[in-house]
Amino acid sequence: MMMLVLALTGGLYALANLGRVGALPANIVPFLILVFALMLAAHVALRRLAPQADPVMLPLAALLNGIGYVFIARLDSQEASYQAIWTGVGIACFVGVLVAFPRAVNLERYRYLIALGGIILLVLPLAPHIGQDINGARLWVHVGPVNFQPEEFAKIALAIFFASVLAERADLLATGTRRIGRWLVLEPRYLAPLVAAWGVCLLVLLAENDLGSSFLFFTLLVGLLWIATGRWAYLALGAGMFLGAAVFALDVIHHAESRVQAWLHPWAHFATSGYQIIEGWFALAAGGMWGLGPGQGNPQIIPEASTDFIFASIGEELGLVGLAALLIAYLLIVGSGLRTAVRSQRSFSKLLATGLSLLMGVQVFVVAGGITRLIPLTGITLPFVSYGGSSLVSNYILLAILLRVSDDNAREQALADAAVLEAGPDAYRPVATASPTAVTEVVRP
């Protein structure tokens, strides 16, 4: 499978160069060796460190990474060399996470530390001297030569934190215990950490003008709350709160308002805020069903063609068929992630895997939906494909955690099977019910 991905990426790279300058790229051999080495390293590391993890997700991510690289190289060779370095760093982090956390549960131990880290990361761009405004949103941090978008990492930290808190308190959050009038209301202190975390990240994101990410966090929190407790009210409450926050944001933030205007009336704002989305549409229309072919189009007309709008760039040259393949690849990754969640016997692992998978799925939707004008456009990246170190590295970390959970499942299943074999069929049940931490924790308060 990895081989197939490598062949696809190499072929696409060669074609894109042929299409653009009519010659095979001069660096095709070193390029192929590098890609080959990186992907092989990731593959071998995964086989050694998490031998029973899902075999599909890494090749798919590698494919997305490869397609993204080809398009970045086709648009800007300088960015491509950075992206190659970031791919290396991403895979190093991928291996690092697998080494550092032999069990997903290990993550749970550091949840407050992780949460704190996540919040610090979120606040970082607001800090004077190192924070930086780019395109109306304050998302960037630059320390020395390195610029990065901390929110990409914060989302993983928050997913871990939410998963662990919810795994512990799901039952408490599912039913009210304090009576106000005729309503049973939740004990506030159970909800407090979540609300606090949510409040901080929302405030920070509003201060940073980043609507896309705030929507992402919101979906993560509300989705996990609902999945953990089964209360539809959380979904309704979440939607209501988000709408409230959004309306408030529109009043306060000019950046957000112009984005919504561009969404509702892109043609009227062609010269200004609607320009990018319409150029994106022209690119998609030019691509049509089969695309113009790699290297044959003019995606460089679109602003941010290699980052936020790489989806449109790919649509121009690979067409509807190429984008459909891309969407299917994401669905397969998200699907594998959710299957991992379903198979997981621990609430924490289950919620973690769900959260991370949903993060990826919703992020794809926010980007692609923004470009196709299903929702207002917000500047976030397409996982694994867009140009950008923070995005690439954080998504490799996300993938490593998902694969770690997947490996855990298989091993626990094997242990359980072994137990069943030793003690007969009846012995299975205690293992299964004893493992979720939620059950033991319920007794404590």
Binding site: L18, L284, A285, A286, L327, G361, V364, F365
Partner: protein, 496 residues
């Protein structure tokens, strides 16, 4: 735990639905709305794309390159150049980033652009490369115009406003089509916007724009050249009039007018039968013929000769020649008499008059006029060749033969108005025209074809803005130009 799994699956389903929504929207944008978006005027993508690709060359029948794309090393990859400049400007047209296209660049855009490039099987490495890059070299357009005839036409006009159109009667192929003022399309094809804009401003600011080619986009009073059609109408509609001896007059009183009189040129007196009237271009005689024929007959004949209908030349914006509706002559017979001699509101495009001469030459048939000769692929192989088509039957072969006799007499008779067109050893048939414009100047014409009996070329020559003199200037000014063109063409035996 099971409930949680159910909800995880539901969340998965929701994600799935979100991405399906994206997919559906992509279908809408990339398939259903794609062509509308492609055609949106705000969409510069196609323009940029076109400028990044080479465009086919336009080549004259004698192998001179009239337009081609050369690598440009600027923001676009290719620059359109016109090596012959103004000489072919009104035929090639321009290829402008801001102002679009005109002429052949417009008419044969699909041939010249990449879109229709004929794909050949790659046989060497270079071709394998271009096969993969989907950039086969574009096809080239070979036209029927001979650049040496075109140049001769320009030289003969010598900067005077006017037009020369030469056709092959049997095929409709355009051999030369030149008019003054003309323009050089190079500046309009510039990649520099300021250069383009100032060139455009210059071309469109004057009273008569060179973009409106006199040869095929402008109408003029045809004057006596219209007598070719009047004579043909006589043979077709009232043959007896051909033998009716008209009284010798200096002026014909016009009916339905307040004592207006139609005078002969320079106050001469003339009369007689059709042959005599035609040879000396007798206005009073033809005025009477027009009155005798009636408006309907003249109108029908003009229609048959390609007037009052769109001309199918393969260029954009070809003008129609105009002959008034028969109803306009009711209680206005004076206008009818004047129309019969190509005055009043009758207006001709030089191209139409050349086609009418060709109709007489080609036994009454008007072939579809065309510039397209053949299309060749990047390796010189012929992709398509133009096949001549009949456009109209103007008149019968018998009538054409009779009118040919009239036209021969114009050149051959000692008292003919077109003696200046005589070529030793070649029978030239022609008709002069000297049209009053209402101003101090006149328009001089000569239409001709040769050699009789097997004509190979038909010509219409117009020289505008000539001072009124005592000679038939159609014969002294325009006829020598027609003669030069015919002679040059026949000397080479019609070969490039």
């Amino acid at each position: 735990m099971n409930g949680m799994n159910r909800r995880v699956r539901l969340a998965g389903l929701a994600t799935c639905l979100l991405l399906v929504a994206v997919f559906v929207q992509l279908n809408y944008l990339q398939i259903f709305r794609a062509s509308a978006l492609d055609k949106n005027p705000l969409n510069t993508r196609n323009v940029v794309l076109r400028y990044e690709q080479p465009r086919g060359a336009i080549i004259s029948a004698d192998g001179i390159t009239l337009a081609q794309s050369v690598p440009s090393h600027d923001q676009y990859k290719y620059q359109r150049v016109y090596p012959e400049g103004a000489l072919f400007g009104q035929i090639t047209g321009y290829y402008s980033f801001i102002y679009g296209t005109d002429g052949l660049e417009n008419e044969y855009d699909a041939v010249l652009s990449q879109a229709n490039a004929s794909v050949t099987f790659p046989t060497d490495l270079q071709e394998v490369k271009s096969f993969f890059t989907n950039q086969p070299a574009p096809d080239n357009l070979h036209i029927t115009v001979l650049s040496r005839l075109q140049r001769l036409a320009a030289n003969e006009l010598a900067g005077r406003a006017g037009a020369v159109v030469a056709l092959v009667p049997s095929t409709g192929a355009v051999l030369a089509m030149y008019s003054n003022p003309t323009y050089n399309p190079s500046a309009l094809a510039s990649h520099n916007q300021a250069t383009e804009q100032s060139a455009w401003k210059k071309l469109t600011s004057g009273p008569s724009s060179p973009l409106v080619a006199a040869a095929y986009r402008e109408r003029f009073f045809p004057g006596s050249t219209f007598k070719v059609i009047t004579s043909s109408a006589v043979y077709d509609h009232k043959p007896s009039l051909a033998d009716k001896a008209m009284p010798v007059l200096t002026g014909l009183p016009l009916p339905d007018t307040a004592n207006q009189v139609l005078h002969n040129f320079a106050g001469e007196a003339c009369g007689g039968k059709l042959l005599e009237l035609f040879t000396v271009s007798c206005d009073t005689g033809f005025g009477q013929l027009g009155l005798d024929l009636g408006g309907q007959s003249l109108y029908d004949e003009a229609r048959a000769f390609g007037w009052d209908r769109p001309v199918p030349l393969d260029l954009p914006g070809v003008a129609e020649s105009f002959f008034p509706q028969p109803s306009s002559f009711v209680r206005n017979a004076g206008a009818l008499a004047k129309s019969a001699i190509g005055q009043e509101s009758v207006q001709a495009v030089p191209l139409t008059l050349a086609m009418d001469a060709a109709a007489i030459a080609d036994k009454g048939v008007i072939m579809t006029p065309h510039l397209l000769g053949r299309v060749t692929g990047s390796q010189g192989q012929t992709v398509t060749t133009y096949r001549p088509k009949q456009w109209l039957r103007a008149t019968s072969a018998a009538t054409a033969a009779k009118v040919t006799k009239l036209m021969l007499s114009v050149v051959n008779s000692p008292n003919g108005t077109g003696v200046a067109a005589r070529i030793p050893g070649v029978q030239v048939a022609g008709k002069t025209g000297t049209a009053q414009t209402g101003g101090p100047n006149i328009e001089t014409w000569f239409v001709a074809f040769a050699p009789v009996p097997n004509p190979q070329i038909a010509v219409a020559v117009l020289v505008e803005n000539q001072p009124i003199g005592t000679e038939y200037q159609g014969g002294t000014i325009a006829a020598p130009i027609a003669k030069a063109i015919i002679q040059a063409y026949l000397q080479s035996g019609g070969k490039p």
